[in-house]
Point group: C2
Chain length 288, copies 2
Amino acid sequence: MAKIAFLGLGVMGAPMARHLAKAGHEVRVYNRTTSKAERWVAENGGAWAPTPGQAAQGCDFVFCCVGADNDLREVTIGPDGAFHAMAEGSLFVDHTTVSAQVSRELEAEARAKGIGFLDAPVSGGQAGAENGKLTIMVGGDAEQFKQAEPVMQAYAQRIGLMGPSGSGQLTKMVNQICIAGIVQGLSEALNFAMTAGLDPRAVVEVISKGAAQSWQMENRSSTMVDGQFDFGFAVDWMRKDLGLVLDEARRIGAPLPVTALVDQFYADVQKMGGGRQDTSSLIRRFRG
Amino acid sequence: MAKIAFLGLGVMGAPMARHLAKAGHEVRVYNRTTSKAERWVAENGGAWAPTPGQAAQGCDFVFCCVGADNDLREVTIGPDGAFHAMAEGSLFVDHTTVSAQVSRELEAEARAKGIGFLDAPVSGGQAGAENGKLTIMVGGDAEQFKQAEPVMQAYAQRIGLMGPSGSGQLTKMVNQICIAGIVQGLSEALNFAMTAGLDPRAVVEVISKGAAQSWQMENRSSTMVDGQFDFGFAVDWMRKDLGLVLDEARRIGAPLPVTALVDQFYADVQKMGGGRQDTSSLIRRFRG
């Protein structure tokens, strides 16, 4: 069993840290809002620390799941950041979805200090974190991956090493590009079905085993028809991810005409007050 | 066992008619190019007729799978069409993908003559027709549906009565709208992955069980990566279907921003000489 620090106890981080504690690791947590860290310790044991550096002190692994690029920089290279406290040979695993460039920049900073660094964004949402069934897309060194993999098994269903530093982030971007096209197609299709006077559930039933099938159709079409969006992966987070995707695509020269358009459609949903709703709320542009 | 006429022995119609003959029905076929009808009879028994009317004479059911609106009008209400020859109480089942309005128009013409008419477009492609595993989306009268359903089981995996006349066509349109968004998203995603230097197969492997999953990802991503498109449902047919979709959407007032864009992208693929290639060749716009 390892000594582990976990930075960031949001809807994803809190259950992930819980799975590590349940697996028998010694877990010390840090959260910007201290009360959340205290509550986590009251429920799961372990200890909490007031800064990322103090949490990381003496640990074999530091896991992290925070908001975005700037939060990640703060908990790693900020004045109280983990990188200043971590021992040589210890390993930082970042589960935050950030730009591939920030991942590579922090990997280089870590390497200069003799620390390992893996970018390891996840998919599977809050439910996946709670059930321990996340998909983890990892970028970085193969030896470091071998060290972290058995620990991450505590909350993963699938873990893949995708290539050098940044490749985890790039893989997550591919995932979000697929979702953008699928959810928009499904929104247009369900709105068309309802406007045409069809029973959209009967339509999904008959087409859901063929070439139009998708996870989104199986898991979201019924709630889209009902106009229920108070769950799942929020539009605000999707827009953050699509912003990273479009920046990277511009950098490498990959055209994303529909992804760019869907990003704008999600901006419409935000304007309608849907920023905290599930990504399937894209259909609201058609149906209010 | 029933007396059946089958009109149109293309890549879909020929195997569908074969399944009816194998099921023990007495099948008489018609095809515009007579040599195909002669060959079909040589291989499958039964008989062929030189006109749709002569094929339909004395039959309980007339099934049909031709090219588009005008072909369908010709074999039904044209001078040698089936409607002039069909007995009262017999049933015409149209498997062609046409506009919902043509379906409704022909249903009304049939009804005036005491003939039943179902619109019953299919999905599942040539493979589905050959394996007898098509999905059939039916519009029309429930009693007529009950008569036709057991006969269509010969080549179907799924059969749904979707509503009144035209509803089968509308359901097929919903199917094609979903596919347009999915295939474009997948094309952008795979091109992004390859441009970013990722191994696209490894990426698909890791993301293919989550929210980005689709039938298209499972069945087409590998061939898209290899640039193989000489199979499956052709771009020319997809453009025909999307033309019907966009006309109907304009009529009923359902916005289809991404479907309309993807239709234009398929026009690009046609210009590149890809009209006969599988719909997954949409990725060629990015990769040539």
